[in-house]
Symmetry: C2
Subunit: 504 residues, 2 copies
């Protein structure tokens, strides 16, 4: 007897629930590996990861999955099931279009390239890494042909991380950003002004940094019954399910900013995952909708809250309480200027708010060039250094602080970098609307009442998980499409304040 549609739908939802369960187990395994799993167990744990991952992959491209998509698409009433189908179909098509032998070659190459990249970075020698990167780019170009694309081939990669965002959009917004940020950066350099920052770098015991970080997480509305804070080397947040969203941080005892701003950043990611609608649990929709929207949440809290004057008006005394006297006698204004010093630097992840977008734009321009056959891999060190000189006024002295600094390309992650800058623009655009809808916004920052802010984001962003695409979220929340002006305005206002510049 033929099964009816609602029986098939039920089976399909069980099927994706199983994939979700494997992914949740994988999430816990990764968290554990990065927060203290005993070293000698790692090799066998990798086997476990391999088994679970390949099971999820097989399920995503199976004939069963194909049959569910065919039978159910357009035939079920529920909006959740339809979105789940859409999501599964996208993955199915992406993964099925690649010939298995090419995919296997790629997976082996990825693993090898990452360890070669590590060595090359240590030796600061791009030539070591070059042949692997060439092969990675070549295979990605083949993937793009299999996947197909509209407009620019690079769009096919962007679509993976930020559906709806294309070269056509990015060329425009990144040009605007670049043309406004570059002069501001050079204006600051010309002013010769430099905030006093020496007091930042005193010894601040790890345990006390942790105490303050916990307080900061609590303030922004992180739910400790649905999460925990642990220590790791490379900080991250991970949403295993909305009731279990973990934050990690690392501590530099001679620079408290690493842990404090790092924790608030990851806390922003965590607020997103903690507040997704419970209705989506067990489906692939139960996570942030895109890298960019995710980053909008972390950057909003890290920069717009954590690096704001208001936040520190409310928290500097608390920080002083935990510190060993390093901030005694430091005024709130001096503290604010110190933590917001802007100066061109080589390393993206150490960049300040103002110069950060330029790091991203450089990578975007290079990736676009690569996938449009306008730049060859062998030219990368030279192109990289030239762009740093042009946009930031500094020229990396070697490959380690230049083209080899980031892990992304070694793992084949092309098209990912733009999300960081997109997130920043989304965040500024959200803030603009938030301030309009919440006239007491500035006061809330100073009094530490951050919950209404979290609630606004939950209502407009968090709740939907992957039920809405990134631009849908943005337009529904702010009433317009991506507009870089809000970020530009914010940066001009903030940095002319920090550096007492007269710019209009």
């Amino acid at each position: 007897m033929e099964k009816n549609i609602s029986e098939i739908e039920k089976e399909f939802l069980e099927y994706v629930k199983k994939m979700g369960a494997y992914n949740e187990a994988l999430g816990l395994i990764y968290w554990d590996l990065r927060t203290g799993a005993p070293r000698e167990g790692h090799v066998q744990r990798s086997e476990v990861i391999g088994v679970l991952q390949s099971e999820v992959f097989k399920m995503s491209v199976s004939d069963e999955m194909e049959a569910y998509i065919e039978k159910l698409s357009g035939n079920v009433p529920g909006s959740v099931t339809n979105k789940v189908l859409e999501e599964c179909k996208k993955n199915f098509e992406r993964n099925r279009k690649i010939p298995e032998s090419l995919f296997r070659e790629y997976v082996v190459l990825q693993a090898r390239a990452e360890s070669i990249w590590e060595e090359a970075k240590k030796a600061s020698d791009f030539e070591m890494f070059r042949p692997y990167l060439e092969k990675l780019v070549a295979i990605q170009k083949q993937f793009i042909e299999y996947w197909g694309y509209t407009g620019n081939p690079y769009n096919s990669l962007l679509d993976m991380y930020e559906p709806g965002i294309t070269v056509e959009v990015l060329d425009d917004v990144f040009a605007k950003l670049r043309d406004k940020i570059v002069p501001l950066v050079s204006e600051i350099a010309k002013s010769g002004k430099k905030p006093e920052t020496g007091f930042l770098f005193h010894h601040f015991p790890k345990e006390s940094q942790r105490e303050f970080s916990l307080e900061a997480l609590k303030q922004i509305g992180y739910n400790f019954n649905a999460g925990r804070l642990d220590e790791t080397v490379h900080p991250f947040a991970t949403g295993l399910n909305p009731g279990d969203v973990r934050v990690t941080t690392n501590y530099d005892e001679n620079d408290f900013r690493t842990a404090v701003f790092g924790t608030i950043h990851e806390g922003g990611h965590a607020l997103y995952e903690q507040n997704i609608s419970k209705e989506l649990i067990g489906t692939p929709l139960c996570s942030g909708t895109s890298m960019g929207i995710h980053e909008s949440q972390s950057l909003f809290y890290e920069n717009f809250v954590g690096r704001s004057l208001g936040f520190w008006k409310n928290n500097l005394d608390l920080l002083k309480k935990y510190a060993d006297g390093q901030f005694d006698g430091i005024s709130i204004e001096d503290f604010y200027r110190a933590i917001n010093e802007s100066k061109p630097s080589y390393i993206r992840i150490e960049a300040d708010e103002l110069t950060y977008p330029l790091h991203i734009i450089i990578r975007y321009e290079i990736e676009k060039g690569l996938f449009n056959n306008e730049i060859e891999v062998k030219e990368l060190p030279e192109v990289w250094n030239r762009k740093y000189e042009q946009y930031l006024g500094i020229r990396p002295r070697n490959d380690a602080e230049g083209v080899l600094q980031d892990v992304h390309w070694s793992g084949g992650s092309f098209g990912y970098f733009p999300s960081y800058a997109l997130g920043y623009m989304y965040a500024a655009q959200f803030m603009n609307t938030l301030k309009k809808e919440m006239p007491e916004y500035a006061r809330l920052l100073e009094t530490g009442e951050y919950l209404p802010i979290k609630e606004w984001f939950t209502k407009h962003v968090h709740f939907f998980g992957k039920m809405k695409k990134p631009l849908e979220i943005l337009v529904d929340a702010t009433g317009e499409g991506l507009n870089p002006d809000y970020l530009i305005e914010y940066l001009y206002e903030k940095y002319s304040g920090v550096y007492c510049l007269n710019i209009d």
Copy 2:
């Protein structure tokens, strides 16, 4: 084209490796749940457990598994594959013989019974729990009929936890134990002697207890590159793989013995799992061979090492260093007598070394009676209390401190209790051989050189995983079958020393 045997063998080993991977993921999930997983994520985490467990179960009884067993049994050369087949066949037959509907009924009942037991224990009301226990026993009796048995029906249950051990064996050894321990217990009571114990119960900060516990683990040879110590409510050790064997403990700040002896106990389990042959990783043979042999390792370290005079000659000063002065002026002899006080008590898990076996024997006699239709569930409180009075000279005042104290029956674990006493007898028998083969044993205890002891156990016990059955291990290591005399001798010697009795 037909696959040849070695291809099928390879496939089969991949198949069991996959089951092992799911089990390892489950192990990590359980560890995490019991050491700090955020509360609000538990419900969804249970779903993940359900998915993984049902997958492992399905794989263990699948037609594929059946085909592997049929095609490979007796047709492969390797001793490992043959043992894996044997293990899989045993599970397959156990699980396939039960009708699915009965098994489902049982699983639902188990979950329900456990929460009812919790309530019943709180209310100290056996009648609340009785109907569930009756049903559990009734279904287990049906299982026994499906599984079949030799000799006594209760053997079918014993075989799950301690293959090779039967009612015929236990009746004999437990009678000997009981007939020797009961008079010794009453001798001690009659002597009227009671060691001074007041100094044990001072405030000992948790952090310091942890430091001492870590030192103790290190001394016995626990490898911290392949493990870690965490806090939990109900302590356990878990071997995810030999490179990742975790120990947990809990701290009572007014009784350091809970953490210290608990950690050493779990450390003994952990030494077993850390030292299984690497060759067995990824197979179902990579864990302790039975509950009883496992318990022999934990009890050996907890009692024969941790509660010995030698261990404290070497460690009392260290304990004094961590404690807040509570042991100042206490002699090693007084300390030793205090931690080895013996007195009849109601609660098994709080019992001392001497009375502990009686708690087990009572449960054994009751279980045997239940499954031989000589005792009815409704009679349990009365039977229980009568036996406590008869063997220990005390009568529980209510069900909570009597028949309802242990969780085991609520989960349907009948046949499990005897392992605890078996482990104790195995341990004493191992020690007897160890002392003969290592004449310096007593000196090693006093000087803290415990590694040769660990190495002896690794060579004779740990290394084999499930490659050998429990009695095979015992006979190969000690040259004889189970002999309760060694435990009896040990107890007489120890307790006539602690209580200065003149017994021969």
